[in-house]
C-alpha cells in the first residue's frame, strides 16, 4: 500500500519532468527553459555560493522577524484572552489586520524605513504577529478549567499558573499558531525581498528579482524551487512532527 503510493508519486513527477523537458525550449527558451537548464543553474549557483549565501541571508531575516513576531504575539494573545477590554480593542485590531495580505505593508515599510534591513524585519514581524496573537488567544481560552482548578488547590496562581499551567496546557494550539505564523512570515519575507533592494544583504527574493531584471528565467525558476524546498522542509520536516507529537501527548489526537 505504502510502496504503491510512493510509486504513484515518483511516476507522476518523472512524467511531469519529462513533459516539461519535451515542451520547453521550443523557440521560447528564454521564457521557458527546460529542467536541465534550471538544474544546471542550481548546480552553478550552489558551486559559486550565490544560492546558499542568499538562502543564508534570507533565513537570518526570517528568524529575526519571526522571533519579533512571536515575542509580541504571545504576550498580546495572553492579554486579549485574559482582559476583556484588550479583547474588545486589540483583539479587533488583530482580527482586522490578519486579513491584510502582508505585501500590503511593503509600501508603508519602505516609506518609513527606506530600503533597509529594518523595513524587511518590519514586514515579516507584522506578517507574523496577528496570526500568533489570535492563536495564543484561542489557546489560553481553550485550556480546560480543571487544570487551573487542580493547580490552584496546590497553591499555583498568577504568573506561576500562567507560565506553568495555562501556556503548556494550550501548547497544541500555540504550536499550530506558530506554524501558521511561520508560513505567514515566509510569504511576507519573499514579498518584501522582491520589493526592498537592500545593499546590505542579498536574499532569495532579491535573487528572484534580479533574475527577472536580467531575463534569467533559469534563475527565476531555480530560486522558486528553492523557496518551495525551504518552505516544505520547515513546515513538513519541523513543525508537523512537533505538532503531531504534542497533540498525541496532550491526548488530542487518536
Amino acid at each position: 500500500m505504502k510502496a504503491g503510493r510512493a510509486v504513484t508519486t515518483v511516476v507522476f513527477f518523472a512524467a511531469a519532468l519529462a513533459a516539461w523537458q519535451a515542451v520547453a525550449g521550443k523557440g521560447t527558451r528564454h521564457l521557458f527553459p527546460p529542467p536541465t537548464e534550471v538544474a544546471a543553474y542550481l548546480v552553478r549557483g550552489t558551486a559559486d555560493g550565490s544560492l546558499l549565501g542568499a538562502a543564508w541571508v534570507t533565513l537570518g531575516r526570517l528568524l529575526l522577524g519571526y522571533g519579533i513576531g512571536l515575542a509580541l504575539g504571545v504576550p498580546l494573545g495572553v492579554l486579549t484572552a485574559r482582559f476583556r477590554p484588550a479583547a474588545d480593542t486589540l483583539g479587533l485590531v488583530a482580527l482586522g489586520l490578519q486579513t491584510l495580505p502582508s505585501v500590503c505593508w511593503v509600501p508603508l515599510a519602505i516609506l518609513w524605513f527606506g530600503q533597509s534591513e529594518l523595513a524587511l524585519l518590519f514586514v515579516v514581524a507584522v506578517g507574523t504577529v496577528w496570526a500568533v496573537m489570535l492563536a495564543v488567544d484561542g489557546a489560553v481560552r481553550s485550556v480546560p478549567p480543571i487544570y487551573l482548578r487542580a493547580a490552584r488547590t496546590m497553591g499555583s496562581r498568577g504568573l506561576h499558573a500562567l507560565l506553568f499551567v495555562t501556556l503548556p496546557a494550550g501548547l497544541p494550539y500555540v504550536v499550530s499558531g506558530f506554524r501558521q505564523g511561520w508560513a505567514f512570515a515566509w510569504r511576507s519575507l519573499m514579498a518584501a525581498e522582491i520589493y526592498v533592494t537592500v545593499l546590505g544583504g542579498f536574499g532569495l527574493g532579491q535573487l528572484l528579482h534580479y533574475g527577472r531584471e536580467l531575463h534569467a528565467m533559469d534563475q527565476v525558476l531555480g530560486v522558486m524551487l528553492l523557496v518551495v524546498a525551504v518552505g516544505l522542509v520547515a513546515d513538513r520536516g519541523l513543525f508537523a512532527p512537533v505538532e503531531r507529537r504534542i497533540h498525541r501527548r496532550w491526548g488530542l489526537a487518536a
Binding site: A150, A151, R152, T153, M154, G155, V165, G251
Partner: protein, 273 residues
C-alpha cells in the same frame, strides 16, 4: 467551640459547614444547589457524601476546597472561614486532571515545587517516594497518555499528597475506573488513611463504596442538596467491598435514600446503586 457540637462529634470539628447555601446559574435560570447544609467533620475522620446526581455534592466539595464561595452560611476549617484554595485542602478530581505535558514524576514535582519549605535537593527523592507509596515506582517517567485510568488516579493521589493536606477532598475519584481497579483502590486508600489519619471527605453516588470506605455516610437529598440522614459505619477495617455486612448497610441506606426521593414531589431519578 459550641456546646451542641461536643455531643455529636468525637473530637473538635476539623471542618464545619454552618447553614451553607449555594446557588448558581444554569441556562439562564437560577438553581439552588445547596440549601442550609450543616455538617461537622472531626479531625482524622473519613466521611463519605452520598446523593443522587445533581444534588450539589461536587459544589459542596468545591466550597470546602475554596474554589467557590457560599451565598449564605460559613465553611470553617479549624474554626476559620475558608478564604480560598489552600494546600492544606487538596482535591482529587474524577478525571485525575493530571498535566499531560509532564511525566508522572513531573506532575508530583509540580506540587512539591509549590512548597517553599521543601528543599530543592529533597524534591526528587520525595516525589519518587510518593509515587512508590501509591505503587507506581516503576512508572516514574511514563507520560500521562501512557498510563491507564487507575494509574493516572494514583499519580493524582500522589500529587495531592505532596501538599501534605490535613483535609483530602475526593470528588468521585473512582467513577471512571473499571470495577477491578476500583476495588484494589479501596484497599489501598484505607491502608493509606489508617497510616496517616488525614481527614478525608469523599463524594460519591455509589452507596456501597461509601459504606466500604467511610466512618460516616452522609446522605444528601436531591436538589437543592440538604443533609437528610447520617449513618455511622463501625465495621472493622480494612473492609472488603464484597463483604456481606457492607451490602447490608448499603441496602439500608439505599432504602432510606429512596424513601426520601419518593417524598419529594416530581421525584428525580434515583441514585445509582
Amino acid at each position: 467551640m459550641s456546646a451542641e457540637g461536643t455531643a455529636l462529634a468525637p473530637g473538635p470539628p476539623k471542618l464545619e459547614l454552618r447553614g451553607v447555601s449555594k446557588r448558581f446559574e444554569s441556562a439562564g435560570r437560577e438553581v439552588l444547589a445547596l440549601e442550609d447544609v450543616r455538617l461537622r467533620v472531626a479531625e482524622g475522620e473519613f466521611v463519605c457524601l452520598v446523593g443522587p446526581s445533581g444534588c450539589g455534592k461536587s459544589t459542596l466539595l468545591n466550597l470546602v476546597a475554596g474554589l467557590e464561595f457560599p451565598d449564605r452560611g460559613e465553611v470553617l476549617v479549624d474554626g476559620a472561614p475558608v478564604a480560598g484554595p489552600g494546600p492544606e485542602r487538596t482535591v482529587l478530581f474524577q478525571d485525575a486532571a493530571l498535566f499531560p505535558w509532564l511525566s508522572a514524576i513531573g506532575n508530583v514535582r509540580f506540587g512539591l515545587r509549590l512548597r517553599a519549605e521543601v528543599p530543592k535537593a529533597e524534591r526528587e527523592e520525595r516525589a519518587r517516594a510518593l509515587l512508590e507509596r501509591v505503587g507506581l515506582g516503576e512508572f516514574l517517567h511514563a507520560s500521562v497518555h501512557e498510563l491507564s485510568g487507575g494509574m493516572r488516579q494514583r499519580v493524582a493521589l500522589a500529587r495531592a499528597l505532596t501538599a501534605e493536606p490535613t483535609i483530602l477532598l475526593m470528588d468521585e475519584p473512582f467513577a471512571a475506573l473499571d470495577a477491578l481497579t476500583r476495588e484494589q483502590f479501596y484497599g489501598d486508600l484505607q491502608r493509606l488513611w489508617q497510616r496517616s489519619r488525614r481527614t478525608i471527605v469523599l463524594v460519591t453516588h455509589n452507596v456501597r463504596e461509601a459504606v466500604c470506605l467511610g466512618d460516616r455516610v452522609v446522605l444528601l437529598s436531591a436538589r437543592p442538596g440538604r443533609v437528610c440522614e447520617e449513618f455511622g459505619v463501625d465495621l472493622p477495617r480494612p473492609r472488603d467491598f464484597n463483604q456481606v455486612e457492607i451490602a447490608e448497610v448499603a441496602g439500608r441506606i439505599l432504602r432510606t435514600l429512596k424513601s426520601h426521593l419518593a417524598r419529594e414531589d416530581g421525584g428525580p431519578e434515583p441514585a445509582a446503586p
